[in-house]
């Protein structure tokens, strides 16, 4: 908190121009610019690390979400959501470092057949910025 001290001119021991200059520096606009955190408007990024061909019974699909755009305390990846093609519901992936600048996410699902299924992913940070949606089809390779 900024407080002007002393509060009466009679207590002042410096010339008025200096006081005026200080007042300008401490005006609401200037103080606001100096102390108010810059809003985080940049979204996180989400990448898929798992190969498109799944070779095991139960597929664990994992990736990374990164939120590096913020210069404020409101930073970090809040959640990574995923959606199967043809469905409307977005589900939450498991994160290993929620709130971190970078976190690994993973989901467990089953991939059947060579056609497999397309899955979409997006990340959300603590300022509610969202990443682009990335999608990939995962196929059963054996």
């Amino acid at each position: 908190m900024f407080r002007l001290q002393p509060t009466t001119f009679s207590d002042m021991k410096c010339p008025i121009p200096s006081i005026l200059f200080a007042a300008v520096l401490l005006s609401p606009a200037v103080v606001s610019a100096q102390t108010t955190p810059v809003p985080d408007t940049s979204g996180p990024e989400v990448t898929i690390d798992t190969a498109s061909v799944v070779l095991s019974k139960n597929a664990i699909i994992s990736g990374t979400a990164t939120d590096t755009g913020s210069t404020t305390t409101i930073a970090g990846v809040r959640e990574v959501l995923y959606q199967f093609e043809g469905q409307t519901k977005w589900r939450r992936a498991t994160l290993t470092n929620r709130g971190g600048e970078t976190t690994t996410w993973l989901i467990k699902t089953t991939i059947k057949g060579t056609r497999g299924k397309r899955i979409y992913f997006r990340a959300v940070d603590f300022a509610n910025n969202e990443s682009d949606v990335v999608g990939r089809r995962f196929r059963r390779g054996s």
Partner: protein, 478 residues
């Protein structure tokens, strides 16, 4: 929506008929494929390949190709083979279908058949498609088929298109590595773009792991930094399904050398292992040193254990060190519990939440439940005291907005009184070798046993190692 039924009734049968006709022709002309072109390493000294490439026809188009694609290494003269002439027309019919499962299904049938009969002609058609999901799906179907017969030719074609990306490269690399890991490694290392190369490298690790996980592990250890993490994760995922203990031993060694690139591998391992043998998985986690790798593994274990024993799962979740991670994992455990046994959840969630003195933790459960069952959620207001603590200027100075301070809420009407416990946070830190800390029996976390279903059998500890290691811990059975 008159167009969709029309298209479905007209085009899908046409494609299927075309594919069927192609299959008949393939059988009629006895096209047996180029078995001699399977990379020699596939029949090398390593264990037998997981999948034997089915005999496929191959090679050049027949004039139906929209554009001939020159594939290096395909200069050997091949006997003339008659290929079904209707593929291009069927392909164009598929292209005109509306996006959706019908088109996906028709494309899958078409590409599988066409790529088996004439991969280069199929490839030319795929390359003629505009960028988008149709081309991506067509490319994937083509590569899946082609890579089983001639991965080198498929790789050359993919590189020549200029459209190679993580999806297509990793698909080809994974298939190739399962048959010939050495050749696959040489190809992926030469991919110039890191965003494409890294998933392809990971795919090779996974494909190689199906044949020889030890050799694949040695290769992953020597990969450059920045590439190892995804490769290790893919390797471990495949390895754990065959031998989780061996995969666990590898992860422990790998983590000691690369702690910053091992969390995902540990999480993947536990995700597989905990479903098969949760006791062994929990013992493995207990043997890890404290740090991010153990945190990642513990969080995944908690979610995996939620369907077996919610009380134990909540104990693991509450013992996570990081504040946002811990609260979200608690909510994830509750969600898994809700999905697995809604009756048990309804009976016990009230007491579970009342035992959470952390405001943000309760809020996470509250929000989760609001999405799943708003009516029940409202009934739980009696238990879920959600009032945000009065702002404390001193505490607020160090707390990030959006991350409510980790402190007990003021006494809630109707909710059991929770004494703010300054030692709680330190108590939540897992003791070495055990995720469940020793705690005051009066500690609210000791109520976690009450979360289990009321029948006696459910109170049996499903995770012996937890109880062995957590002497006097809140998760101990009576």
């Amino acid at each position: 929506m008159p167009r969709r039924p029309l298209l479905r009734s007209a085009v899908v049968p046409a494609v299927i008929v075309a594919a069927a006709a192609a299959g008949i022709l393939l059988q009629k002309y006895g096209l047996s494929g180029k078995s001699g072109e399977v990379p020699a390493a596939a029949s090398g000294p390593v264990s037998p390949p997981v999948e034997e490439p089915a005999p496929r026809p191959a090679d050049a188009g027949d004039g139906n190709s929209p554009a001939a694609v020159v594939v290096p290494g395909e200069s050997d003269p091949q006997p003339e083979k008659e290929v079904f002439a209707g593929y291009p027309a069927a392909a164009d019919a598929v292209r005109l279908m509306e996006p959706g499962s019908d088109r996906d299904e028709a494309l899958e049938v078409l590409i599988a058949s066409w790529a088996a009969a004439d991969p280069q002609a199929a490839a030319a058609w795929v390359h003629s498609l505009p960028a988008g999901e149709l081309r991506a799906d067509a490319t994937g179907g083509l590569l899946l088929q082609w890579a089983a017969v001639d991965p080198a030719a498929a790789a050359d074609w993919l590189a020549s298109t200029g459209t190679m990306n993580a999806e297509s490269a990793s698909l080809l690399a994974g298939k190739w590595a399962a048959a010939d890991p050495v050749a696959a490694t040489e190809w992926v290392i030469g991919i110039p773009d890191a965003a494409t190369r890294n998933p392809a490298v990971a795919a090779v690790a996974g494909g190689w792991a199906t044949r020889d996980p030890v050799a694949a592990g040695a290769w992953v250890e020597n990969l450059p930094a920045g590439t190892r993490r995804a490769a290790a994760t893919q390797l471990v995922q495949v390895w754990a399904e065959a031998d989780a203990a061996a995969a666990g031993a590898w992860v422990r060694t790998f983590a000691a050398k690369n702690p910053g690139e091992s969390g995902a591998a540990a999480a993947a391992l536990v995700s597989v292992w905990a479903a098969e043998d949760p006791a062994a998985a929990s013992r493995w986690i207990n043997g890890l040193p404290e740090g991010p790798v153990r945190e990642a593994a513990s969080g995944v274990f908690a979610v995996e254990a939620a369907t077996r024993d919610p009380a134990v799962a909540l104990t693991w979740a509450m013992n996570l060190a990081g504040e946002p991670q811990r609260n979200q994992t608690v909510a994830d455990v509750c969600e898994a519990w809700f999905d697995a046994d809604e009756d048990s959840f309804r009976q016990n969630i009230g007491e579970a939440v009342a035992g959470m003195t952390n405001y943000a933790m309760r809020k996470g459960v509250y929000e989760m439940l609001y999405e799943r069952d708003p009516v029940f959620h409202d009934n739980l207001l009696f238990w879920i005291e959600i009032t945000e603590p009065a702002p404390d200027p001193d505490a607020a100075a160090g707390a990030a907005p959006g991350h409510p301070a980790d402190e007990a809420s003021p006494g809630a009407a109707g909710a059991p009184e929770q004494e703010p416990d300054a030692s709680r946070e330190s108590g939540l830190t897992a003791a070495p070798g055990a995720p469940v800390p020793e705690s005051d029996p009066g500690d609210s976390r000791g109520d976690s046993d009450d979360l289990s279903p009321q029948d006696e059998s459910a109170l049996e500890p499903p995770l012996p190692s937890l109880d062995e290691d957590a002497e006097d811990g809140p998760g101990d059975p009576p």
